[in-house]
């Protein structure tokens, strides 16, 4: 049995990318003592062989710490299914990750490591090196990654042999130093902020909050960072400040996965009067952020429009701490294919000069879009198949790939059938590289959904376009409408009469509510104008008036 299938915490972990963040947050923020506990615990592991017993203990410890956060996380993310990807077909890890900087780089590496056993070691190595090189203050994350690497090597993941021993051990002095530094910095900045607040200098308070936020962000404490950034809100005096606030909050929110929040702040930033410098760049960044948010919320058409309107500003990975230029091409291209029709595709994507720059970075997406536009579906599906594994390893795209692919396939089927009166299902199945029964099933669901107007001759395997007789349909509809009208009008007349004559269901006096049938209608019949009756009476009139004015508008728009 493959040891990796047995209790491997990484593959059981529902949301690895996010989990580490939140787990570390709690450790960093509140319990510094616990942090050092963990650290001492791992001491034998670093000293001795990488795969010693105590290392496993540490794993259990860390898992216990993260338990509560993990539950919260999985609630937030709708897609918690972890798809293990054997090997990406086209991914060049070094080139891929070089386009990113900052947190997202490590996040993406860790994400890949958690999902792709064949790249696990390489990704972890890169991530650890990145953390060391940037002198990160996020020490717990470093320790965590080293632990993961140890496990990977222990289970003999591919490439284990090439791991140098200094990557497998926690550099204790460095880590201690960094931790101390982080602590000191926190104290210093908090002290300064207090001081500013005492002096009530708005601009200083704002700056102090931003600095503290930046520091928390560097330490990986995103919630605190978000809080600090948000606090600058009251001290913003110019539109530049507001933009700064929004960008900061957006950055933290994206990493937290709080995408509805991202959208709010994008709107806020976009409605702020523009400042001269970096105007275009800011705009582009906001578009990218809002695109990501819409993608996360599964609003693909909106996401496509956002990505497509970014312009040329981000070609050089200027927003690398969130999204790379290649990502823009991929996300934008796939969302556009999944949501636009042919003319929109031409107008918004193929003729889009700004977006073309991104497409040049990802030629296969360009080919995909061209192929789709030119109705070369076999090519499209082929490209999509080849790249599927790669996209499953993408931090933002992975959970949407299935939905996007299904949509694109549906679009292709619809487009394929639209110009023909009859379609041979065997030929169609060939060009969609599927079997006739499977194709039939897909077509049936599209026909039922009203997306294809056709009927299937399942004996001869031919799809016939439906010849709807509009005249007949109109007759049928108007007859049905006439009947409805008559019926409802009659009911209304009857109801008015009943009200007029006090034929109203009433409970016995003194005992309201509950189903009962007291003998009280006789009373009602003889006093048809009680106080409440009159009220209902006016209500009836409102019913009649609205019925007369809006019958046809309300109904029968199907």
């Amino acid at each position: 049995m493959d040891p990796r299938l047995s209790p491997d915490p990484t593959s059981l972990d529902p949301t690895p990318g996010y989990n580490t963040n939140t787990m570390d947050t709690s450790a960093d923020n509140h319990t510094t003592s616990m942090d050092s506990d963990m650290y001492t615990d791992s001491q034998p592991a670093t000293a001795g062989t990488p795969s010693s017993l105590s290392n496993v203990t540490l794993t259990a410890d860390a898992g216990g710490n993260g338990g509560a956060d993990q539950a919260g996380n999985s609630k937030r993310k709708r897609f918690v299914k972890v798809v293990e990807v054997d090997a990406p077909n086209n991914l060049d890890l070094d080139a891929y990750i070089a386009t990113y900087k900052g947190h997202t780089k490590v996040n993406r590496l860790e994400f890949i490591a958690d999902r792709c056993p064949s790249l696990q070691v390489d990704a972890l190595k890169l991530a650890i090196t990145e953390l060391r090189n940037t002198n990160t203050l996020h020490v717990s994350r470093y320790i965590n990654l080293v632990r993961k690497l140890n496990e990977a090597v222990k289970f003999g993941a591919p490439g284990s042999g090439t791991v140098s021993s200094d990557l497998l051990t926690v550099d204790k002095t460095w880590a201690d130093n960094q931790m101390l530094k982080a602590k000191q910095q926190t104290d210093l900045l908090e002290g300064e902020l207090k001081n500013y607040k005492r002096n009530s200098i708005k601009e200083s308070i704002r700056m102090g909050n931003i600095e503290l936020g930046n520091h928390y962000y560097a330490c990986g404490d995103l919630t605190s960072a978000h809080r600090s950034y948000s606090r600058t809100r009251d001290y913003c005096t110019t539109s530049k400040h507001i933009i700064e606030l929004c960008m900061n909050v957006i950055k933290a929110s994206i990493e937290l996965g709080n995408f509805p929040h991202v959208l709010t702040y994008v709107v806020k930033a976009e409605s702020t009067p523009e400042v001269a410098q970096d105007k275009e760049l800011t705009k582009a960044k906001l578009k990218a952020a809002s695109g990501l948010a819409n993608l996360d919320l599964s609003k693909y058409p909106a996401a496509a429009r956002d990505f497509l309107s970014i312009g040329e500003e981000l070609v050089g990975n200027q927003y690398g701490d969130v999204i790379s230029a290649n990502d823009i091409a991929v996300y934008g291209g796939l969302c556009a294919l999944a949501s636009f029709n042919r003319t929109e595709l031409k107008r918004l994507v193929i003729d889009n000069v700004g977006f073309r720059q991104y497409l040049e970075l990802e030629p296969h997406i360009r080919d995909l879009i061209q192929g789709f536009y030119n109705s070369n579906y076999a090519l499209c599906l082929d490209i999509m198949d080849k790249w599927k594994n790669d996209y499953l390893l993408d931090l933002h795209l992975h959970s949407h790939i299935e939905a996007l692919y299904t949509n694109i396939r549906k679009k292709a089927l619809i487009q394929f059938t639209s110009p023909f009166l009859t379609v041979d299902l065997t030929k169609m199945a060939k060009s969609f590289s599927t079997t006739v029964p499977a194709l039939e099933k897909e077509l049936v669901s599209l026909i039922i959904g009203g997306q294809i107007e056709a009927r299937i001759d399942s004996q001869q395997k031919i799809l016939w376009a439906k010849q709807t007789n509009k005249r007949s349909a109109i007759f049928d509809r108007s007859t049905a409408m006439g009947q409805d009208y008559e019926r409802e009008a009659k009911a209304l007349v009857l109801r008015m009469q009943m009200m007029n004559h006090g034929l109203v269901v009433k409970g016995p006096p003194g005992e309201r509510g509950g189903p009962n049938d007291g003998e009280h209608a006789f009373e009602a019949a003889h006093h048809p104008r009680g106080g409440r009756d009159r009220e209902m009476f006016a209500g009836t009139r409102a019913n009649v008036s609205s019925f007369l004015s809006s019958f046809s508008r309300d109904r029968h728009h199907r």
Partner: protein, 469 residues
């Protein structure tokens, strides 16, 4: 109560003296009402039978008094009496009988009692059906006899005679004339719906149950709740979904429905999704409730209707399909006799004109070709139908507008608007001034202010509702 009972001849002559309707109302009615019951119940001892002495057509009012007691006293099959009953119901004067509507009701009840005792419900059904038509002032009027007759028919499962009455929609309710109460209205539509459901005329059944559920109410009636349960099931049967109830349904009823009909709502939700297995589990879950409510038969019919509905859906997606495929597509594939059952269902659907198709057994297992509706709507039948519908719609719209206008010009309506205006607007205005102003406003500019007026009405009634609580 009269101090001493007048002699028999005296009564007869009194009755015969009152020949026109005013005389009956003014003198005869108080006179007869003052008499003791035994007078009417007395058997003719050697004298002439009062029922023979009186003419059922001209003396309907008094005749009814005697007839009621005769029926009440009668046990078992009495041919002579029934002949008299028949003569009475076929010839009596509706106007006179309406004056004694309580007696008419007792008469109907007595008749039903006789029928139940002799196990021959037709004894009551036929005369009552005729009697209702006599009793009605207008063809669509609801009388007290309606629910009784519907119930009797339902119990006897003999519905031929009541159908013409049911088919004629109720359009007239006048408690002053017929002394009906809301219960009569609810019960009639409830029983009527059940009769239609019994006949599998579900479209009408849905309509009847809907009328019962949406009747104006301050508190929910148990009849309305039961009607709603059946409404849900028949609506599923006929349309595959629960038709929305009218907006004006009483909020009390709506609330009670929500609490009381959970199982039905769940079943409907599952049914609307058309997934065989989900519906089956939901049905199993709700079975005790359905059985308790005696609605399980309807629910089972829903399951059968599901197959028909699924086949109907297939006609939209397929031109030809083998029976075998149909069987598996509608979820009967696992049943041993599935294919034969499906063929039967399809044949019946083709016969009833629900779908247009041909079945060919050229290939093994049989192949079904679905065709389009051959009716191209290019014939005179369609023309006539459309014309008739337009006329009906115009007529009913005219009636509605007339009622709308009648209400908007009613003093009560103005008073309501006028008397509440000043306290809300805050102006210390003389009330008569205000209503005069309002009246003028409405009078001058009826068309343009109508929407404005509606708004006012709504807000007004809303305020009033809050205040009264």
């Amino acid at each position: 109560m009269a101090p001493s009972d007048p002699s028999f001849d005296e009564i007869i002559s009194k009755i015969q003296a009152a020949t026109d309707i005013t005389a009956v109302t003014k003198t005869l009615a108080p006179y007869l009402n003052n008499l003791n019951d035994p007078v009417f119940a007395a058997q003719p001892n050697g004298q002439v039978d009062p029922l023979d002495a009186l003419d059922p057509a001209t003396h309907s009012f008094a005749y009814l008094y005697f007839l009621v007691h005769r029926c009440k006293a009668s046990h078992g099959f009495d041919h002579a009496l029934l002949a008299k009953v028949w003569a009475f119901v076929t010839t009596c004067d509706g106007e006179q009988v309406r004056l004694a509507s309580h007696k008419a009701m007792s008469f109907a009840e007595a008749l039903v009692k006789v029928a139940t005792e002799t196990q021959q419900p037709i004894i009551a059904i036929k005369p009552l059906a005729v009697f209702i038509q006599r009793l009605q002032a207008s063809p669509g009027q609801l009388t007290m006899i309606h629910p009784l007759l519907a119930k009797t028919c339902l119990l006897a499962q003999s519905v031929k005679d009541i159908l013409p009455i049911l088919d004629n929609d109720i359009s007239d309710v006048k408690p002053q004339q017929t002394h009906i109460n809301y219960k009569d209205f609810l019960l009639y539509h409830y029983y009527g719906g059940m009769i239609y459901a019994f006949l599998k005329k579900f479209e009408r059944a849905v309509e009847f149950f809907k009328l019962a559920v949406s009747a104006p109410a301050e508190v929910a009636s148990a009849i309305q709740i039961e009607a709603h349960k059946k409404y849900v099931l028949t609506s599923l049967l006929q349309y595959g979904r629960v038709l929305p109830l009218p907006k004006y349904i009483a909020s009390a009823v709506q609330r009670t429905i929500k609490v009381q009909c959970v199982a039905y709502a769940d079943f409907a939700t599952a049914y609307e999704k058309k997934s065989n297995s989900a519906i089956r589990t939901e049905l199993e879950k709700a079975k005790p409730i359905f059985v308790r409510d005696k609605n399980f038969g309807l629910a089972k019919q829903c399951m059968e209707a599901l197959h028909r509905r699924n086949i109907q859906d297939l006609t939209r997606t397929y031109l030809t399909l083998s029976i075998e495929n149909i069987t598996s597509l509608i979820g009967l594939g696992s049943e041993p006799d599935g294919a034969r059952r499906v063929e039967g269902i399809i044949v019946r659907m083709i016969e009833s004109g629900v779908i247009f198709a041909t079945i060919s057994h050229e290939h093994a297992g049989g192949m079904v070709s679905f065709l389009d509706d051959p009716n191209q709507h290019n014939n005179t039948i369609t023309m006539d139908m459309i014309n008739a519908q337009i006329q009906k719609a115009t007529a009913i719209t005219a009636k509605l507008s007339a009622m709308d206008q009648a209400i908007s010009s009613m003093p009560a309506y103005f008073n309501k608007q006028g008397s509440h205006g000043p306290e809300h607007s805050g102006y210390p205005m003389d009330e008569s001034d205000y209503s005069m102003h309002m009246g003028y406003d409405n009078y001058v500019d009826e068309a343009s202010s109508s929407s404005h007026k509606k708004q006012r009405t709504e807000s007004d009634s809303g305020k009033r509702g809050r205040r009264s609580r």
